[in-house]
Symmetry: C2
Subunit: 227 residues, 2 copies
Amino acid sequence: MTRQEATHTQRIPLNRDRVLRAAVALADATGIDALSMRRLAQELDVVPMALYKHVANKEELLDGMADAVVGEIDPPAAGPDWRRVVRGRILSARRVLLRHPWAARVIESRTGPTPAVLAYLDTMAGSFREGGLSADLTHHVMHAMGSRLLGFSQELFDTSGPSGPPDPALAARYPHIAELAATAAHDGGSTVGGGCDDQFEFEFALDLLLDGFETLRRQGWTSERKA
Amino acid sequence: MTRQEATHTQRIPLNRDRVLRAAVALADATGIDALSMRRLAQELDVVPMALYKHVANKEELLDGMADAVVGEIDPPAAGPDWRRVVRGRILSARRVLLRHPWAARVIESRTGPTPAVLAYLDTMAGSFREGGLSADLTHHVMHAMGSRLLGFSQELFDTSGPSGPPDPALAARYPHIAELAATAAHDGGSTVGGGCDDQFEFEFALDLLLDGFETLRRQGWTSERKA
DNA sequence: ACTCTAGGTGTACGGCGTACACTCGTCAAG
DNA sequence: CTTGACGAGTGTACGCCGTACACCTAGAGT
């Protein structure tokens, strides 16, 4: 403590958690494409190679980031109606994913499930089972939900955009799309999907699926395929 | 024609189409991660910068590849049952995407819809409309299908893998997942999702959605939200 | 006092996308 | 036949990336 105590506050030593948090913050702020090991190191006032004492490589960094985000999802609420329980939790996941727009792509790009994702899926499966769905049906149901389980509906293209006036040439080439765009006539029509209420679309599909599952459950549905 | 006519067949000049086809073939063969401008140029016996006379940059190359793949999807068959028409076309899309496993990720990563994708979605919307769904319902229905429209069910994690014996420690930590895995007991049980019949899962969700849509159509469903 | 070690450093390598200036063959206009 | 424009392919170079590897250093345990 003899010298250089005031020039800059002495460093808190790095650790895996600080690295992951900084990475998430950086991705939130500048987008996932701008997240490089070098840029992240710079954000932490450290030389790039220092990061490798805490994460094995960039893939593992991304694994950790995915887990951190999934860990933000609320646990399932208690309740007698399994559809409400599942619906609420998925909407919580959706809120988390909207806070971290890069996360959907990162989660998808993981080659294997990370621990937090496994834990999430496990309790989700538990909610279905507790609601009375057979293990068999639960299995197919979770596949059917796909990435919607984690709150992203996989919107093919981001619905934001310049949203100029409808292009008549485009409308001529793609008449049906133009018709749909015209139908979504609220706060500024746009070309293909702009002006849609994403939340509504998400819940529309979610409820359609949950209702379908409930119908199958009541019917005692089973996959009677043999081998 | 005086010299070097036999050393190597004289070059067919490059063009955009040859570049795209080579890129698709290279991605098919070696994976999308191994597709670099330099590697592609090498495959075409050309210096890397030569490619830039035919595509503006790598993003545009990927756009072109996505379009080439989407162009492989069959046009809709004719028929009175809209569900059969849509179902058949989507399964065609799925076959295409299975031929080009990298394509789903590439299509997702496009920031805007490419012409072939627009054309595909347009005729798909046409099939719904012709089946008697309102423009309103068609709109939401297409959102609900999400990427399934293009044949990929977004399987969160690839179902292939080492597929070792079920890990008892994992089973203890994730009991519900273990139960589901045990249920999918055919040709070799695996840890989380292995051993599933992907095609079955895809069609399960597809048919659940299509049946739900048909029910809504018969009910004259409309989104009566105001503003 | 000595060693061990965890964490941070510095240098370097190979690969990437691509900007920019160039060469060269073809072909139409003069 | 000359010439000049032009489109296709070339060569060099820059800045970024992830990360291997050797090194240093401060503090803890003996």
